[in-house]
Amino acid sequence: MRMACHHRRDPSRLIVGAVALLAAGAAVLALSRRGAAWPPSVQSAEFFPSLVAIGLGTAGALLVVQSAVGLPRAGAGDPGAQEGAAAEARGRGDVGPVEAPWRLGAVMLGVLAFHAAIGPFGMVVASVLAIAVLAPVLGYRRWGVALLVALITPVAVWLMFRRTLNVLLPTGWLWG
């Protein structure tokens, strides 16, 4: 294996570092707008969040520096073999490229639409629509089965929550 490959920059460090810095900055801003003294005293509500924000900023800065100096991908020469293997297995599959961006986008939109539909249509109708739309999007091709599952599952879930747990799931304002 070529040496250069080990020193390939890891863009995720830069992104995570930047997000951590931004989050820390936003937290400090939100805390400082309340006009408390700096550094906050132990009694004040800002004390602990400020400590956490400082820590988060430090971790973010560390990640940005690591990405700038081109730290090798951790795990490459890990001394703890099991931990390396465990981390390897854990990361496998998630970090790879998005193979079907359109489908991912459609499912994400579907989830947001499902959330928005519960208010007006109620849990049952929104769930029927969600299953009926998302199953084919995910590549399910047996339409009859999909329709049947879409009709039965939401009613079963509704009854389960209503009868055994006494929870009334949203019924939808559209139906009055």
């Binding site: 951590a20 988060l56 001394p79 465990a86 297995a89 509704w158 389960m160 929870v167």
Partner: protein, 494 residues
């Protein structure tokens, strides 16, 4: 101890509690065996059902689900190489290789027996160790707790990902989210931004369901083919046999010991235990060449190690309120929803319940043996359920579960946000466990830290003046130094 256990069992074991534990076990095995549903997901999705039950019914159900789901995960791991849990990843390597050689049944049975054996050993350790440890923990006060929480969070940030800095960022972000709501001391609002729903903090169960279950649906959606099944699922192959199992008794015993040890460490759970046990067995093995090509010994080591860590993770959870891994984190959330606040006082306040629950753990372990054999014979086809139809149904359950916790739509929004956040973290290789555990431990850390400092005449020195917290601090420093040296060595080697 035995008398306590007997008293707990006598007061806690009713027809209803035993039936609900059995039902939970069966549900856990079935749901855990579905491809793409991890044990954490299973517990998270089924946990809301217990919120409205009496503790004597809800908690046995949940423990049954927990145990069933962890075992159920090994079924798709072996049959179709889709580990239901990260803890089953080592099992998948050996088990799937065995399945391809037509020895799926032997692998499944070895996994079952090793799981039950490891679990039994660890449950006994749990029963005998927890109460004395809790008695010792009564001597802990705020400074010790503050350092212990910090220690647990640092450990989990250090071992659960490939980069310590990312793990730390994840934990700190979780702690920051944990600050949302009212300040426990002054009652002032923090990060509420005018939303009254946030006054009580970010609801735990919805964000957990989002980060584990919804993010998994996104991950499945981005794949070229959603959940393609490969491998022999229905083959009729020879059983394991007593002799083959007995040949692994020392491996199982050693791996169980390692599993218990790893599980007891605060913040480290079954995911690490399975690799530690598997790696140790491989190093000692006389048949090392079989590893990776279908080793029954490897299955025995991985499964007994990861299952032994399961009851062991309950030790830091019950004694200190520190969850060992993500499943325990979800379990802790459910315990708190039932009004059982884990910690050393738990044994004084709810001793009967806890010993009753220990009895339930022993009972479900025996039942698991029978249910597992039925599952191996009858449930193998369940891994064929296409994920494309399963995922939308899981989504519906997630939404219903998130809503039911507090019966408001805001929590469903928290679930969706958790799903997107979890997905982003997984794509950026940021480990989720530190976030979740910091979210849970953050309030405890804040309280103990501020109390220590308020009552200390010497400020921050209080943490080195007390022997227990000073020892923990020294351990923490050693752990950080080890991490730094490892990173520098990796850089030098790279």
């Amino acid at each position: 101890m035995i008398a306590d256990l007997a008293a707990g069992v006598a007061s806690f074991f009713t027809v209803a509690s035993v039936v609900s534990a059995t039902l939970g076990l069966a549900a856990g095995i079935v749901v855990g065996a579905l491809p793409g549903l991890t044990a954490t997901m299973t517990v998270a999705v089924l946990a809301p059902f217990t919120f409205f039950m009496d503790a004597s019914i809800g908690l046995p159900f949940l423990l049954g689900v927990y145990k069933g789901a962890i075992y159920g995960g090994s079924i798709p791991a072996i049959l179709i190489n889709t580990p239901g849990t990260n803890a089953a990843a080592a099992t998948a390597i050996e088990g799937f290789a065995l399945a391809r050689k037509g020895r799926a049944r032997a692998a499944l049975e070895m996994s079952l027996y090793a799981s039950v054996a490891g679990d039994m050993i660890a449950t006994l350790v749990l029963i005998f160790v927890t109460a004395p440890l809790a008695a010792m923990a009564l001597r802990f006060s705020s400074p010790e707790y503050a350092i212990l929480y910090l220690f647990a969070l640092t450990m989990i940030a250090g071992v659960s990902g490939r980069s310590f800095a990312k793990g730390a960022a994840s934990a700190l972000l979780g702690a920051l989210v944990g600050c949302v709501g009212l300040d426990p001391m002054s009652g002032a609002q923090r990060f509420v931004f005018g939303y009254s729903d946030l006054l009580g903090g970010v609801a735990l169960v919805p964000i957990l369901i989002g980060m584990f279950a919804l993010s998994e649906i996104f991950i499945q959606a981005e794949r070229r083919t959603v959940g393609a099944v490969s491998g022999d699922v229905d083959g009729l192959d020879p059983a394991l046999g007593w002799r083959a199992f007995a040949a692994q008794r020392w491996t199982i015993l050693r791996s169980s010991g390692l599993g218990v040890f790893v599980g007891t460490l605060p913040g480290i759970g079954s995911e690490i235990a399975c690799w530690v046990a598997y790696g140790a067995a491989q190093r000692r093995s006389k048949a090392r060449h079989e590893y990776g090509r279908g080793s029954l010994e490897g299955v025995a080591a991985a499964e007994s190690g990861n299952n032994a860590s399961v009851p062991a993770t309950l030790i830091p959870m019950l004694v200190f309120g520190i969850p060992g891994d993500t499943v325990t984190a979800v379990l802790l959330g459910a315990f708190m929803a039932q009004g059982l606040l884990p910690g050393p006082l738990l044994f004084q306040n709810s001793g009967d319940t806890i010993y009753g629950l220990f009895g339930i753990l022993l009972l479900t372990n025996v039942l698991l043996l029978g249910f597992g054999l039925i599952a191996i014979a009858r449930l193998r086809a369940i891994v064929r359920v296409p994920q494309a139809i399963l995922a939308p149904c899981v989504l519906v359950l997630c939404f219903a579960g998130a809503y039911s916790a507090n019966q408001n739509m805001f929590d469903v929004g928290v679930l969706v946000a958790g799903g997107f956040l979890g997905y982003a973290m997984r794509k950026l290789d940021v480990p989720i466990p530190p976030f979740v555990i910091a979210l849970l431990l953050g309030p405890g850390l804040e309280n103990s830290l501020r109390q220590s400092l308020l009552f200390s005449p010497d400020g921050w020195l209080v943490f080195v003046q007390r022997p227990i917290s000073a020892t923990l601090l020294a351990l923490l420093a050693a752990f950080l130094a080890f991490q730094a040296v490892a990173a520098l060595r990796a850089r030098a080697a790279g």
